[in-house]
Symmetry: C2
Subunit: 308 residues, 2 copies
Amino acid sequence: MDEFELIQRYFVRTDEARGVITGIGDDGAVLRPDSGFELISVIDTLVEAVHFPTGIAAADLGYRAVAVNLSDVAAMGGRPRWMMLALTMPDADEHWIRGFAEGLHVAAAQHGVALVGGDTTKGKDVVVSIQITGDVVEGGAIHRSGATIGDAIFVTGTIGDAAAGLELLQAEQDNDFLLQRFLRPAARVDFGQSLVGVASAAIDLSDGLYADLQKLLSASGVGAQIDLDLLPLSDELRAIFDSKAQRRFALSGGDDYELCFTAPEDASFDAGTLRVTRIGTITAGEKLVCRDAGGIVEYSDRGYRHFR
Amino acid sequence: MDEFELIQRYFVRTDEARGVITGIGDDGAVLRPDSGFELISVIDTLVEAVHFPTGIAAADLGYRAVAVNLSDVAAMGGRPRWMMLALTMPDADEHWIRGFAEGLHVAAAQHGVALVGGDTTKGKDVVVSIQITGDVVEGGAIHRSGATIGDAIFVTGTIGDAAAGLELLQAEQDNDFLLQRFLRPAARVDFGQSLVGVASAAIDLSDGLYADLQKLLSASGVGAQIDLDLLPLSDELRAIFDSKAQRRFALSGGDDYELCFTAPEDASFDAGTLRVTRIGTITAGEKLVCRDAGGIVEYSDRGYRHFR
């Protein structure tokens, strides 16, 4: 099966998607933006053996590749709409591709995203790049740079789970909840949109809270104090790892794809059933100070960097 | 140097680009579309040792990665505007990256395209995916599917040069013109836009005229007859290769990134200094018939396919 047959069989969906004038199958997709909206464009790559262990299920990879991009759109307050896929792989294993496409479409369908184009190529390792175009009402995008002194700092969900799940996976141990948190991250797309006009700044947690919050602080030119005793940890993380490991996963783990955002003290928002936890306050300066019941905690981490 | 420093140093340009509300450096780019326009979205990947030989100059790779995407936008009649880059590479060789970024920015600047975001990751081979968003007046996009019986068939520029250049490169022979045609293809962006409302169908020549014209015919549900004696060949191609090789390069070579388009017999267009050659006519049926002075020529080629 060559790539044209592959695409036709597994990637083309015939259901009508809003704003899609021309989808897969021409030189490019033709898309109609809504008037009064600005576009949000994101792209993220997953590389085999770097971003995911060789041998994870194809469906999980397809799901995760979409989710990490949805999370970036969510952090901007955007509504994800259209997706482009660049898929490089060593061979055309039909079973693998069917699984990958299924996972990809499941993640996309959860948020009404249409796959509108792509490029399928041969290469030694699996490399998946997904680009998503979303939109947001004009002037509504949430930036990293908007935090001001006195704002409260929040995180969604629980943090540290994904890194803990990955560590278990690599040690060939199992905990389904933690593993799923790595393999199938839940991008906070609906809640992200509800933060437009509410949050002063936001970032998604891909490199770990400590490093990602630092980026938000740098972009905003402010500092922060957070209380490590307030970090939202799952029961599973607490049950399996000691408190030192819990803290390491929560601060430096990465891959959670939760949102960290800031908002004025008196801001109100409706998170529905989503857990949202206040962990600290924006301060003057550009320093991130961590405290717990014992006082100031010295902590240092620059987050994951390629080519360190 | 880690990827954040790399991006800051080589990929961020500070010149204002139209419609760019937020460029590189946040979770996503924020872009403002023009009212009355639809978007054109394209993505194309170049993989080391598959789409280009290992060891070509980084600047040529950067240029070419942009040009192949510009060409897809051109084939839709679009105006390219905003670009996202997913770059995977084995290490952060600063010299290489500087060259790559230079070539990329040169190709982008020729058509006023702004780099607005990306992802830089580590992997065994160099894999470059570029996504470009362009626009076109509402309803103006040129599709592969619009050719009708009796339309004239045209190609821009000369064809076969890039494949000939690649063959020389791989044989460690040199012809600067042919080599440059492979390394630095000239996407027909301005001419493509001028074809809106004129061309009935268009496709860019990435896989070779024979295979790409077949795709246009299939999408349009028509056939064609082309005259192989009319194929526009460069003086350099004629000087170096015999007539059989010339024809093979022109029909099956690929990588030229010229446009093949159809238009009614009485259509008029202004190509300026760009050579535009009529090579045949759209017919009933779905067969592509090749002729020359000697009569019907049997020719078969499905174009380049990954995972054949």
